[in-house]
């Protein structure tokens, strides 16, 4: 399948921790979605009590693991991959809405120091900086409901916390659907998946990367 295009070259894109983090999150998110919607009362799979226990445990696990990710993203400078930009955003949007059907090449190929295209940058920033923290914080509050007075949160409303948490769950589920689809848009259906497993991604062999794509230098 791969390798038929002579312009492709293999680059090592995802470090081991990144891949571990990605797949760990995959497992955690799937478990949380399944158990979360069971706790919501949508279906009966594990049984309510088990679903609650699994959801609580996995949620707390994610929260702790996420702190390690935050540490990693800042100490490695990888946070720069998430700095949003509008440059070529339109081109990327145009590509997915039009160019992709015409067989055009991606306007922003992946590079070791520019893993994300402008749409990914904004999406992942929103995800990692807003949606996931909101989901974790509301989840933590939900889980700690009985400790609110001790935490000085007596004024909090469980209804509001639950509502935000549910809205967040829908947002994450929507993200998962689109994400699962988008990973099939590499030069082969499984190219992106392979990259996230092995770390190696085949990319267009271009000599230069435009300046803006390179990690933003700290001012």
């Amino acid at each position: 399948m791969a390798g038929q295009n002579n312009n492709l070259k293999n680059i090592y894109l995802y470090a081991r921790y990144e891949r571990f983090w990605h797949w760990l999150q995959t497992v955690l998110i799937v478990l949380l979605l399944i158990t979360g919607f069971e706790v919501k009362g949508l279906y009966s799979l594990f049984g309510f009590q088990t679903a609650v226990k699994v959801h609580n445990f996995v949620g707390n696990t994610w929260l702790i693991a996420f702190l390690f990710f935050v540490f990693w993203v800042f100490t490695t400078g990888e946070w720069r991959q998430y700095v949003p930009t509008t440059k070529k955003m339109f081109a990327v949007g145009r590509y997915y809405l039009y160019g992709i059907f015409r067989g055009e090449t991606h306007p922003v190929p992946k590079r070791k120091d520019a893993k994300h295209n402008p749409l990914q940058r904004i999406t992942y920033l929103m995800l990692a900086a807003i949606l996931l923290p909101v989901q974790m914080v509301t989840g933590l509050f939900y889980w700690g409901y009985n400790s609110w007075p001790a935490w000085g949160l007596s004024g909090l409303s469980l209804q509001v916390v639950a509502m935000i948490h549910l809205a967040g769950a829908f947002a994450i589920l929507s993200f998962v659907i689109v994400h699962l689809y988008m990973i099939t848009t590499g030069h082969t259906i499984l190219a992106h998946t392979r990259a996230m497993i092995t770390g190696w991604e085949e990319v267009e062999d271009l000599d230069t990367v435009e300046d803006w794509e390179v990690k933003t230098k700290a001012a």
Partner: protein, 551 residues
């Protein structure tokens, strides 16, 4: 190179190790389940079933004399237990009045409190007062200060042969007699035998009255009936004779003849304390022995004890052996067959029609109804105005979700129809039991006369115009605690379709409640995403755009 590899392995190991450590921390809390010290104390106290009082009453000379009546026995008791009658006179068992309300308000059975069973005792004294722990309360003239009128035996005798005559105003049958109400023969007690047998009250002593409240087995409470005389552990995990075999007084602890647990306006326990915190408290609440964190440390049920009473989950259904009465329609009373009163039995072997009483409905394995409850029950009396336009709530648990001392608690709700005054808008007290010509409904079959007679005896107003109104009466459910395997599962309440707490509004409960707007919008976005990627994928397939490269 080798060093580098080792370090990489260590890094991976560290990540896994942290996760493992977290999971251990999370589970360590649940594996050290210890039993509450109060529970251990209760078990120790009940392990030894031997006589634990220091006297053998059959050896007391004073009890070997010839007795011919109850008061004579009482006099003998008082010759040693000098303060007993004075103590007892202050208790609700004697006064039948709420001790915490001014006597002129007449709250209590002896006052103007009303239920939707036989309604009130005025005019039917000798029948109702057959459950009074006294001798001879046959009318208003009863002398409540007479110490010899206290019936020590009904609570303390242990032969099981002592019976009060059902229409004897608290007296046993003076000679062998048949009670027409049940066609049973009643004999006078063997006074010496019963007097010498006295001891601490057992289930049978208490049950003689309390299992038969409302005039028959299981009529009133739902969680108390004759099945608790010798219950299985399955029926009551504490009282089960194949289990801990608790007597009533194991929890209904007694202080100078005041027995813990009666609930009128004043809660049975005002503080939530366990024996671990204070060993002088009455063991009347579950928490007295089990504490407020009785489940495995860190487990979710412990998080419920602030808002949900233990009974709500641990008594999944009441009346699990004998049926209990759920409906009593007095307006249908009085129909006769061949000019005579008749009874018609229903499926559960209990009367569903009785000329004296009207229509009745019984049920077994009843799911309780749940209310916020702070231990206090408010009730109306025969003087209170009611709204006959809707079912009248005769009594009601007090509490709300905003009250920190309220918890969601289970209740039996007994409904029925009973007479009310159309002009004064009050519930009426009928004279039911009595001789022909006395005005008693069960003798003369005339509601108006019965209501006039009852009202005049009770000292309440009656305009002469009456009709029947639907009423409801609640009983807290607290007995018949099931073994833990039978505890309610989460989804009995945490369910959007058939939650037992569906009617309790005003607070959010996971799974029971949801957010329609978020659901609608959420599923809308999810479906839009699915549709979007599907259309996009079809587009790619048909244009052979992406994935165009032959493979």
């Amino acid at each position: 190179m080798k060093m580098l590899k080792t370090r990489k392995l260590m890094n991976a190991g560290l990540a896994l190790g942290l996760l493992l450590a977290w999971s251990l921390v999370a589970h360590a809390a649940t594996s050290t389940a210890e039993q509450a010290p109060g529970r251990t104390m209760a078990q120790q106290a009940t392990r030894d079933k031997q006589l634990w009082i220091t006297a053998d009453h059959s050896k007391h000379e004073v009890l070997q004399q010839t007795f011919t009546s109850g008061p004579e026995v009482t006099r003998a008791c008082l010759s040693c237990h000098s303060e007993a009658a004075k103590q007892f006179h202050k208790t609700i068992h004697w006064t039948w009045l709420d001790p915490n309300v001014a006597p002129e308000e007449r709250v209590g059975k002896a006052g103007l409190s009303i239920n939707n069973f036989c309604i009130a005792l005025h005019g039917s004294y000798p029948r109702c007062t057959s459950c009074h722990a006294g001798y001879g309360w046959k009318d208003m003239s009863f002398d409540f200060s007479d110490q010899t009128k206290v019936d020590c035996l009904v609570c303390h005798e242990q032969t099981g042969t002592y019976k009060k005559f059902p229409a004897g105003a608290g007296n046993p049958a003076p000679k062998t007699m048949v009670f027409k109400g049940n066609n049973k023969t009643y004999h006078p007690p063997e006074w010496n035998k019963v007097a010498q047998s006295v001891g601490r009250p057992t289930r049978k002593n208490c049950g003689t009255c309390h299992f038969f409240g409302g005039g028959g087995d299981g009529v009133k409470h739902g969680d108390m009936d004759s099945s608790l005389m010798k219950p299985s552990k399955e029926l009551d995990v504490h009282m089960g004779i194949d289990g801990k075999n608790f007597d009533c007084v194991r929890c209904h602890t007694t202080d100078l003849h005041r027995i813990a647990g009666r609930t009128y306006a004043t809660p049975a326990a005002t503080e939530r304390k366990s024996l671990v915190e204070d060993d002088t408290i009455a063991k009347i609440t579950c928490e007295s022995c089990h504490t407020d964190t009785p489940h495995k440390p860190g487990s979710k049920p412990n998080d419920h004890t602030d808002k949900v009473a233990c009974q709500s989950c641990h008594i999944p259904e009441f009346a699990r052996v004998n049926p209990t009465k759920m409906w009593w329609d007095w307006s249908r009373a009085g129909q006769k067959k061949d000019g005579k009163p008749f009874k018609k039995k229903g499926e559960l072997g209990k009367p569903v029609y009785f000329t004296l009483k009207g229509d009745m409905a019984w049920a077994k394995n009843v799911k309780p109804q749940y209310y916020w409850y702070n231990g206090s029950i408010t009730a109306i009396t025969a003087n209170d105005m009611v709204d006959p336009g809707q079912p009248v709530q005769i009594n009601m648990p007090v509490g709300s979700q905003d009250d920190p001392s309220s918890r969601i608690s289970p209740f039996k709700v007994h409904r029925g129809k009973q007479p009310y005054d159309k002009v004064n808008k009050t519930l009426l007290i009928p004279h039911l039991f009595g001789k022909k010509g006395s005005g008693a409904y069960w003798a003369d079959w005339d509601w108006k006369q019965a209501l006039e007679s009852g009202s005049s005896k009770a000292g309440t107003k009656f305009s002469g115009e009456f009709d029947f109104v639907e009423t409801a009466y609640v009983f807290p459910i607290t007995h018949m605690v099931a073994p833990k395997e039978k505890t309610l599962g989460c989804t009995e309440c945490h369910s959007g379709t058939d939650s037992r707490l569906a009617h309790l509004k005003g607070f959010y409960m996971p799974a029971r409640d949801t957010f329609k707007v978020i659901d609608f919008a959420g599923w809308g976005v999810v479906l839009a995403c699915l549709a979007g990627v599907l259309i996009h994928a079809l587009g790619r397939i048909f244009t052979k755009g992406n994935g165009r490269k032959e493979n």
